[in-house]
């Protein structure tokens, strides 16, 4: 039984900005990080193994060769196996092509138990790969999971965050879950983990190592296409006021009246 955690290496988006005049991206000193939500996914994958005493935790990522670094972090945290899917043929993949490729890799890994993804990646913010992956694999999905209540070889019971609170959901396994940051506190790598990560070499799979249909991968398999990027309108701060609490409260109330909320 495999606990498969899908992770992504992303640029630290807070550093990515656009030069509104030149229409180009400024990414001076932007570093690559493991998508923050994926750290919760890795932690939960490891915890599932710890609490049940079962399964092998496999970290899976698709990206350029340097995405190996993300797998090293996963190994340092304590996952058992790390697989890097990398190939020029996968370049330009949108969420549909990415989820197809991951699904094919999961088929190759075999006997999936739970597939854990972060809720979304902070570069694209789409939250699409998890549910799309579940659809390709034809397994149930539980999105926005904030707590796993029970899990065994047959089913998983979890709390999912909704727009009004939480649902308690039960599904048979294999199942794809996407996790929120509420679910746990990701551990820091242990010294032993870091040593292991140092020596770690990922298993590298390309398009010939998996049974992929070329029309569903890479650019060709991506129905969506970015045709333009531009800077959002800049927000500029307004006036700053100082004064006694009474004066300040009056300024706010006056604004509330202008905005017709009282």
């Amino acid at each position: 039984m495999n606990i498969i955690v899908c992770i992504k290496q992303v640029p630290d988006t807070q550093d990515v900005k656009m030069d509104p005049e030149r229409g180009t991206l400024i990414r001076e000193g932007v570093k690559s990080i493991v998508n923050p939500f994926d750290l919760y996914a890795l932690e939960e994958g490891i915890r599932i193994k710890e609490r049940t005493g079962k399964g092998t935790v496999v970290a899976l990522t698709m990206g350029p060769p340097q995405a190996e670094e993300a797998l090293k972090e996963a190994i340092a945290m304590g996952v058992d196996r790390g697989i890097l899917i990398t190939d020029k043929a996968f370049a330009g993949a949108d969420t549909l092509a990415t989820s197809y490729t991951l699904a094919k890799a999961i088929e190759k890994i075999g006997s999936p138990w739970v597939i854990v993804c972060g809720r979304q990646a902070i570069d694209g913010d789409t939250a699409q790969v998890g549910p799309e992956l579940a659809a390709w694999l034809d397994v149930p999905q539980i999105t926005y999971v904030s707590k796993i209540l029970e899990i065994d070889e047959k089913r998983i019971k979890a709390e999912r965050l909704t727009d009004y609170g939480y649902d308690v959901v039960e599904a048979t396994v294999p199942c794809v879950i996407t996790v929120n940051k509420e679910i746990n506190e990701p551990r820091l790598p242990s010294l032993r983990g870091m040593m292991k990560a140092k020596r770690f070499k990922p298993e590298i799979w390309d398009s010939s190592s998996m049974d992929v249909d070329r029309k569903y991968i890479g650019l060709e398999g991506s129905p969506t296409r970015v045709i333009k990027i531009f800077a959002p309108p800049q927000k500029i701060g307004g006036q700053k006021h100082e004064g006694t609490p009474e004066e300040l409260a009056k300024i706010i109330v006056k604004k509330f009246e202008e905005l017709k909320i009282i």
Binding site: P64, T86, I122, A127, D167, L219, I252, V253
Partner: protein, 400 residues
């Protein structure tokens, strides 16, 4: 394959590194004084424009004749029912759906799934739907991703809409990708703007990316339908008017599937205070609030304004307030009419979740707090002194 290629013209390349700087994907690097393109290049062309030496060129092969599936027309929207009520975003998307339908010279069909929901069909028609497909069954009482997705796919196959849109809510963001993958078509999440491309009639979908630092316009050329989710509160519902429309009932056949899934229990949190995406006003507290007990002042102000309560990551991580309230990069993205940030310094991770609000008020002791850079109204003061007086003033105005 590949249909597109980024080539480095070695004679022209000076190894200056500008391309490396501007690439948002880390996909080009100067090695031994020459630019090298990596596998993760998405051919966005940003480096090509930035290169002063014309050393980069994007080659695009003429695509093989790919045909667009025929027979697709009309705009379909998905109406979301939350705890028996139509969600606001379901009405909001009808207004943009009408607009798109007008430009495409077609009509709007809305899909409504749930139990005891037929009563909502008329409201959907009055808000802009020409047809409402109702799928009503006791098994559909709660949102079950897999069952809803199957119904959605059946409805799309039957009615063949060219455009399908829904709200980018917790449900929408679970349902739409599942449906898109089952149909093997394109989906764009969290759109804030739509347009129709004149020459082709394609849907142009604009959305924020990279935490809102960049806007991207996306299209789905060769697959149908073109699917998108829409950020709540971007579009305003139309004023309802008495309209004629057709209600079509679609039979639900319980599926026998290889897997089982059910919703066992529903926990509703503190009424309206947590539904941040739908709120007109949000009062948010941050590190400056100081403790769980102190959050009462935030809730008091929210109650007075009929507002939802938000929080910064610092306040959530300190355990003062549940995660459902968190606004920002690892929490929710909101765009209310008014966002009141109390004791929030305004780290960029917070800003990306709230800067699209119509009007931002910041209350903070520190005049140098970054939140003031984006606040429309900045109040330099102690929230514990200002807010109680503010509540008193509001009560006075309301004549209480």
């Amino acid at each position: 394959m590949p249909k597109r290629e980024l080539r480095v013209i070695k004679e022209n390349c000076t190894g200056c590194g500008v391309c490396e700087e501007v690439c948002p994907y880390n996909a080009i690097e100067v090695i031994n004084g020459i630019a090298v393109v990596r596998d993760n290049c998405v051919f966005c062309g940003i480096c090509v424009e930035s290169c002063a030496f014309e050393a980069l060129k994007l080659y695009e092969e003429k695509p093989e004749e790919r045909t667009v599936p025929e027979g697709y027309s009309g705009v379909m929207t998905y109406a979301e029912v939350l705890n028996g009520e139509l969600s606001r975003v379901s009405l909001e998307i009808l207004s943009i759906a009408r607009e798109l339908a007008k430009r495409l010279n077609t009509n709007v069909t809305t899909l409504l799934i749930g139990h005891n929901i037929e009563k909502h069909a008329k409201a959907l028609i009055n808000h802009g739907a020409d047809k409402v497909i109702v799928v009503d069954h006791s098994e559909l009482n709660r949102f079950i991703d897999e069952k809803y997705a199957k119904i959605f796919v059946t409805a799309i196959e039957q009615f063949k809409p060219e455009v399908v849109i829904g709200g980018a809510t917790a449900v929408g963001r679970a349902l739409f990708p599942r449906v898109a993958a089952l149909l093997k078509t394109g989906l764009t999440a969290d759109c804030t703007e739509f347009d129709i491309e004149k020459e082709t009639g394609l849907l142009l979908q604009t959305r924020p990316a990279f935490g809102g630092n960049i806007m991207a316009t996306i299209k789905t050329e060769f697959t149908r339908p073109q699917m998108a989710t829409v950020r709540p509160r971007v579009f305003k519902p139309l004023t309802p008017e008495e309209r004629d429309g057709e209600i079509i009932k679609l039979e639900y056949e319980p599926h026998k599937e290889s897997f089982v899934k059910q919703v066992l229990d529903v926990l509703i949190t503190e009424g309206e205070t947590v539904n941040l995406e739908d709120a007109d006003i949000i009062v948010s507290g941050g590190r400056g609030v100081g403790s769980k007990e102190n959050f009462k002042v935030i809730f008091d102000l929210a109650k007075e304004l009929n507002a939802a309560v938000g929080a910064s990551r610092a306040a959530v991580d300190a355990g003062w307030i549940p995660y459902a309230h968190q606004v920002g990069q690892t929490g929710k993205t909101v765009s209310p009419k008014i966002y009141i940030a109390c004791g929030i310094s305004g780290a960029i991770q917070h800003q990306v979740g709230m800067r699209s609000s119509d009007f931002i008020i910041a209350i903070n002791k520190d005049p140098e707090a970054p939140i003031f850079d984006i606040a429309d109204l900045g109040i330099v003061g102690d929230l514990f002194e200002v807010i109680p007086v503010l509540i008193k003033e509001i009560k006075k105005k309301k004549g209480e």
